[in-house]
């Protein structure tokens, strides 16, 4: 973020407390380095993440939103992560209609033992967002075609 010329993406990360948040803790305990672009917000379960939050984060200037949950079958609350998965599928369909590349929303399963994976995934996400650059499309970049399809113009 100190970089003056280069683009430093800002990422909000919703991490479930049982798996991904703990995985991020382990990355810390293991002193694994990753870029500081990510601000974590602890949630009880990835299933708590309201799709509205994701949209709001983009609206407030996030270049990427990260959701971390437990691996399928490992959810502390039995099945919350399955609901998250469904919601993210729908969100990824919605985002392009707002001029936001779906890759800017990333859902990952990271267990409490996967500190290494957390660091890796965050590093990768930051690199991908740097390649994407800032969000350019605004409301006026959206165009509805005659057959009702929404298109984004760059």
């Amino acid at each position: 973020m100190a970089s003056v010329n280069g683009f430093e993406p800002r990422i909000v990360a919703f991490l479930c407390r049982w798996c991904s948040y703990a995985g991020a803790d382990l990355a810390g305990t293991s002193r694994l380095k990753y870029p500081p672009n990510i601000i974590p917000i602890r949630v009880p379960c990835s299933g708590r993440v309201d799709p509205q939050w994701v949209l709001e984060a983009f609206e407030r200037g996030a270049d990427g939103v990260f959701i971390g949950g437990c691996h399928p079958g490992d959810c502390h609350y039995v099945s919350g992560n399955y609901k998250t998965r469904r919601r993210v599928v729908l969100l990824k369909k919605l985002l392009p209609q707002l001029g936001i590349e779906p890759e800017r929303l990333r859902l990952e399963w990271i267990s409490a033992t996967e500190g290494q994976r957390f660091a890796q995934v965050v590093t990768e996400f930051v690199r991908e967002l740097k390649e994407l650059g800032p969000i350019v499309a605004g409301g006026d970049a959206l165009r509805v075609t005659r057959d009702g399809q929404v298109q984004i113009e760059r």
Partner: protein, 681 residues
């Protein structure tokens, strides 16, 4: 105090819609020695936060978790009349409890204290400098926003029933029942077969000490029957479990035994006249029994029992010969099924194991009477078994002169059978081979193995004794095929150490079959409304290392082989462990539950029912509007995220809070940058 109770009243409903005015937040930035301060400019973080809206006090200190650090927080709460506290330090999993307790001592509700994780999530993963400091500021700001929206909460208190249900009367269930009963609590022990004792009752001797299994087990069985605090239900299956920790309602269905145990004098005349002959489960089909029978002489309860399934007919009565010869008149064909309903505080699942069926391994000729499973071999070894302890093969009663033991039969075979190690086979096979050699000194015992796993106390020494003193031949390799040729069973295998093919002419083959979950455990799991089975069908523990005796459902514990293959000492240890868990629950005056759960704004709820099916705990019921049972709710918030009308919220993590947290995470940090640049310059 009055302020607190006001807030509490408001918090009982929709904290999101309540504005807590005049916020006075204190921020405490920890150096954690060099751990944080070496990377993050902690003074700068405190300074930045002191200018943040709602913050009235911000400071830094070397070790916030130390006693002086905690005193600093307590003093500030009193002196600055703080309405909330953020400790920017390590992960909340480390010291959240420490700081919340300290705040409580200073009169601040613990739910108004949060940790901003600037160590694990910041200083330990980033390089020293501006970026790390900026991130620490952002993280701390998000937590300030959270605390601003937090409401003071009190743990939910709930009373509980003081009985314990133990499901399964094997050694683990017996141990658990006895321990809970000894502590003074009433125990209901439900066993689905006609007797307790489980598989341990079938064993001849136990490794590595060669104690007689029944001799050490039966005193415990008798103790169960005699214990004033234990209500033993045999022929009983748990049909339904509802409720929640401390308050489970269970329905148990008990099949009639048609014999009054108080009148039955065990004379056995009934079985002699019974025209039915079916394989005896206890002797693994090596002997037959009547429809009226006693599983084994020391069965508890000590009574004959009439098996409705195999009897020629009870309703209407077809034969009735048993009742004619019963002198004490113990047989009562009018007995009917009983349904027992009980309220229990804790449940211990000790449902045990079964053996993988030999017919799953057709290459080993499982249909041959002389290819047997390990429990059949136990019965052949047992003094109470079909051969009175003489080893005679089932086909013709001859003493086998060559016995082949095949280990890992169905275990450690991820492609075709079970991927896991069944844990007990190495030891009991060694014991089998030893007992065989003692019974037939001129016989040959040959063990085919993949590896030998003997990690228990005295186990490795036992294996060596079997190999060296008793001259049992161990061949490392798998057996490809077993087939009959006249009087002999031909065993084709390979010795992987020498690379040679091996062919053995055997008289008897014992397959050390994989340990598998018992039939019916899936239905039990479904009854519990829990996806609590692991990939192999065993009951899944809450945490493999730290919560091995608990399930994810509060107050439901696991003991013994229900959780995975276990030997007797492990099953007993777990039985006692699960009992200790149950006792600590039952002995608590009241149970507490986190108040950070979902709640409904009844005015906004349209009764659409989207939420209820999402809840894995069945905590939501919808009639006119949705209602959350705060004792069942675990606070995951999945329903809240799905509510289309915004009627559901999660206490202390509502949408408005998260919105402000997101905003704080993303907001510009002019001040911090300038300050650090000045410092750097």
């Amino acid at each position: 105090m009055s302020k607190r109770s006001d807030a509490r009243n408001l918090s009982t409903r929709h904290p999101s819609r309540v504005t807590r005015r005049g916020q006075r937040i204190g921020v405490f930035v920890c150096h954690c020695g060099h751990n944080i301060a070496g990377v993050v400019d902690v003074k700068r973080v405190a300074e930045e936060l002191s200018r943040y809206p709602g913050v009235v006090y911000a400071t830094d200190y070397e070790y916030m978790c130390s006693d002086p650090g905690q005193d600093l927080i307590k003093r500030a709460i009193r002196e600055h009349r703080l309405s909330g506290v953020v400790v920017a330090a390590c992960s909340p999993s480390m010291h959240e409890t420490t700081f919340r307790r300290a705040a409580e001592e200073a009169g601040l509700n613990p739910y108004l204290v949060e940790c901003a994780n600037i160590r694990e999530h910041c200083s330990w993963v980033h390089n020293p400098g501006l970026e790390a400091t900026e991130k620490a500021v952002r993280i701390t700001r998000t937590m300030v926003e959270k605390v601003k929206g937090n409401m003071p909460l009190e743990p939910v208190e709930v009373s509980h029933a003081d009985k314990c249900l133990v499901v399964g009367g094997g050694i683990a269930g017996i141990q658990a029942a006895l321990d809970v009963a000894e502590a003074g609590y009433e125990v209901i022990l439900a066993e689905r077969s006609p007797t307790i004792g489980g598989h341990m009752a079938q064993l001849s001797e136990t490794f590595p000490t060669l104690d007689c299994s029944q001799c050490i087990l039966t005193p415990k069985m008798v103790e169960v029957e005699r214990h004033p605090n234990i209500r033993l239900l045999v022929n009983a299956e748990v049909e339904e479990i509802s409720g929640f920790i401390g308050n489970y309602r269970v329905r148990i269905r008990k099949r009639p035994a048609y014999v009054d145990p108080d009148l039955c004098n065990l004379c056995g005349e009934c079985e002699k006249v019974c025209p039915v002959r079916v394989p005896n489960e206890f002797d693994r089909g090596l002997l037959e029994r009547g429809a009226i029978y006693i599983p084994f002489p020391q069965a508890v309860p000590s009574t004959y029992t009439l098996d409705e399934e195999t009897c020629l007919g009870i309703k209407p009565l077809i034969c009735g010969k048993c009742a004619e010869v019963c002198e004490p008149g113990a047989i009562d064909f009018d007995m009917s099924e009983e349904v027992i309903e009980e309220e229990v505080g804790a449940i211990i699942l000790a449902t045990g194991y079964d053996l993988y069926e030999t017919k799953a391994l057709p290459e080993y000729s499982p249909e041959d009477p002389d290819v047997i499973d390990p429990l059949q071999f136990e019965r052949l070894l047992s003094a109470t078994g079909p051969t009175r302890g003489e080893i005679r093969r089932p086909s013709d009663g001859k003493v086998p002169k060559t016995v082949v033991f095949i280990k890992c039969a169905g275990s450690r075979d991820p492609e075709l059978h079970k991927p896991y190690c069944s844990a007990i086979c190495c030891m009991y096979t060694a014991k089998h081979a030893l007992l065989y050699k003692h019974a037939v000194p001129d016989g040959r015992a040959i063990v085919f193995y993949i590896d030998i796993r003997a990690p228990g106390k005295g186990y490795e020494e036992f294996i060596h004794r079997v190999m060296e003193e008793d001259r049992v031949l161990y061949i490392r390799g798998k057996v490809a095929k077993v087939f009959r040729e006249g009087d002999k069973l031909i065993v084709w295998g390979v010795d992987t150490l020498s690379g040679q093919r091996v062919e053995v002419e055997a008289d008897l083959v014992v397959l050390a079959m994989a340990v598998v979950p018992p039939e019916g455990v899936e239905e039990l799991a479904r009854t519990l409304r829990l996806s609590c089975l692991d990939e192999n069908g065993f009951l899944k523990e809450a945490h493999p290392k730290l919560r091995p005796l608990e399930t994810l459902a509060g107050g439901i514990f696991i003991a013994g082989a229900a959780q995975g293959p276990k030997d007797i000492p492990q099953a007993v240890t777990q039985g006692s462990g699960a009992a200790a868990k149950a006792i600590s629950l039952l002995s608590a005056p009241v149970l507490t539950h986190s108040p950070e759960v979902a709640e409904v704004d009844e005015e906004l709820c349209s009764g659409c029912r989207v939420c209820a099916p999402l809840c894995p705990y069945g905590a939501i019921t919808v009639e006119e509007v949705a209602q959350v049972n705060e004792l069942l709710c675990e606070g995951c918030g999945t329903c809240v995220a799905a509510c289309p009308s915004g009627a559901l919220s999660l206490r202390n993590l509502d949408d408005a809070q998260v919105e402000r947290m997101v905003e704080a995470a993303l907001a510009e940090l002019e001040g911090a940058r300038e300050a650090v640049e000045v410092k750097g310059g």
